[in-house]
Amino acid sequence: MMLSTKLPIGDVMEEIIQWMTVNFAGFFEGMKQGLSQLISGFQSLLNAIPVFLFILLFVFLAWWVAGKGIAIFTGLGLILIHNLLLWKQTMQTLALVSTSTLIALMIGLPLGILMSQNDITYKIIRPILDFMQTMPAFVYLIPAVYFFDLGTVPGAVATIIFAMPPIVRLTNLGIRQVPKDIIEASKSFGSTPFQLLFKVQIPLAIPTVLAGLNQTIMLSLSMVVISAMIGAEGLGNIVLQGITQMKIGKGFEGGLAVVIIAMILDRITQCLGNENPKTGKMFIRNLRTKKKNKSLRGGI
């Protein structure tokens, strides 16, 4: 049946935003302070590391986790960024991405676990995730500005909203994919739901969760230009200047730096969950086994 009058969804939404701006001002202010502290903390940490040392650290990390090829690419890529005089903006972007990813993880992991536990939570959370992922980012950039003013913070908030769904979805998926007979085995030995979750389900879900982490990082990087529109600092800003001032070259250099950072982070995080072809062990698990074997030697 068609209605003769238009439903006032937009008007209601505006009312809600207005009302929240007024009534939750304290909450938003606190959140803004917290977030901007976190971001600037990250930023000053990254800036405190000398460029040369930073590159060396990243090359070492890439080598350790992902192998020689990625390490060489990481070194050359970072040197190129420095050469393009984009180092400061890159660190700003990294700080924004790190903060957003960290917060997305902090909210997303528990949410994913919650979602995996029963079908009711799954049915509630799923449409929310769809909303977060597909609602065009510009639509919630505006209320973010209402709540947090212009700057890096609303950019981070928008990034968190946009980048969180994969980690939630894949945590849920990873836990639900644990074979039924392994769950049964664990229960048959008398495990509590808590033991089942932490000794069986989550460890077995790790490769899938890491794939989610990778996606979350990639999505936060893809938001840097959009968040630059509301005043977030970093590489996005360079690209935005390139666009608005018709400086194609500058825009390209900024974009290239984003791509380099994205590729480095992608390859490194992807390899975290991969199995080492030589030992058949997953990188992350490898670390743990090494630790345990040490204690074993003492024990037996």
Binding site: I182, A185, G190, L204, G280
Partner: protein
Amino acid sequence: MPIIEVKNLYKIFGSSPKQVIPLLEKGESKSSILKKYKHGIGVNKASFQVEKGEIFVVMGLSGSGKSTLLRCLNRLIEPSSGEVYIDGEDITKIDVVNLREVRRKKIAMVFQNFALLPHKTVQENVAFGLEIQGVKFEERMDKALKMLELVGLKGYANVKPKELSGGMQQRVGLARALATDAQILLMDEAFSALDPLIRKDMQNELLSLQSKMKKTIVFITHDLDEALRIGDRIAIMKDGTIVQIGTSEEILHNPANDYVREFTQNVNRTKIVSAASIMRFAESITLEKAGLRTAAKKMNDLGISSLFVTDKENVLLGAVTIDEVSRMLREQKGDLREIIDKDVCTVEPDASIDLIITEFLKSKYPIAVVDSDNKLEGIVFKSTVLSGIAGEGGGEHDA
């Protein structure tokens, strides 16, 4: 007192199981209840007792409810109605915390597809039950190592399960179940995923462990041979109902109904496969036509060490060996007739494989298959017997 006692156990899948039970008692069948009321029958009024130290096998085809029944014993599946006494305690009435205690201390389980934790080493897997109980790291790893030694996997403590073969993985599963010192072992088709040879090994291993450890084992299988081999008593299930419980003798000789009878007929292929179905074409020589040289050449050509000899009516006379033939040839005297060994074991075409096997024990030659007039029809080699038992068709020539 029996260590496990199950009384009138029902498991019905669907929205209102309790309402279906009276219908079952009135004698409605599984399929009509599924059709009319959309309820599946897992277990239909099962009652049995298992004594301490006994291996109790539940046998049935897939869908007969045997795995459901097993899971009701530790409430991995909640029974719809009925009582399950473990050590005299009705576990269908206890709360979650006590149930966990029962699962930790009294009942351990072994799974068809092993259900090992892929991220833990073999030793950590075996220690898992104890880890759940909160046993200290060193103590549980010590215990796990002992259990691995018991199942013959001591050297594999630090590898991951997926590096092991199926049989070895199931040994780990068994060691994990033994590590908790639970008196009751539930084994859900524990050996069904293994190769036939490995399965036999594991059955022997289980029996030898059992002779030392005296556990109470409830073993689920769809394989009657396995049931007969390891079970002290066997329960046969069909459509959720236990149709007969008894020792293997009782089941084989007094099947309760046609269903059980049909099963037991197929119990052992050695009793039903006939000589005719596995015999091959028999190479032979005709005494009237052939001499020593023909015999020697034929054996050389075929690469065999003995040959049947028939008369021109194809009646079996006996066999000659390459050794005898070449001795005669060396000494350049004598006749084929002198060296025919009449001591050849023969069977009729409808003889069963187990008869053939007993003949092999007496015979130096392959077995000759002859008809009632002693005419040679075919030959059975030791290797064809094996493939006959394994269910492969015979018929092609291969000596």
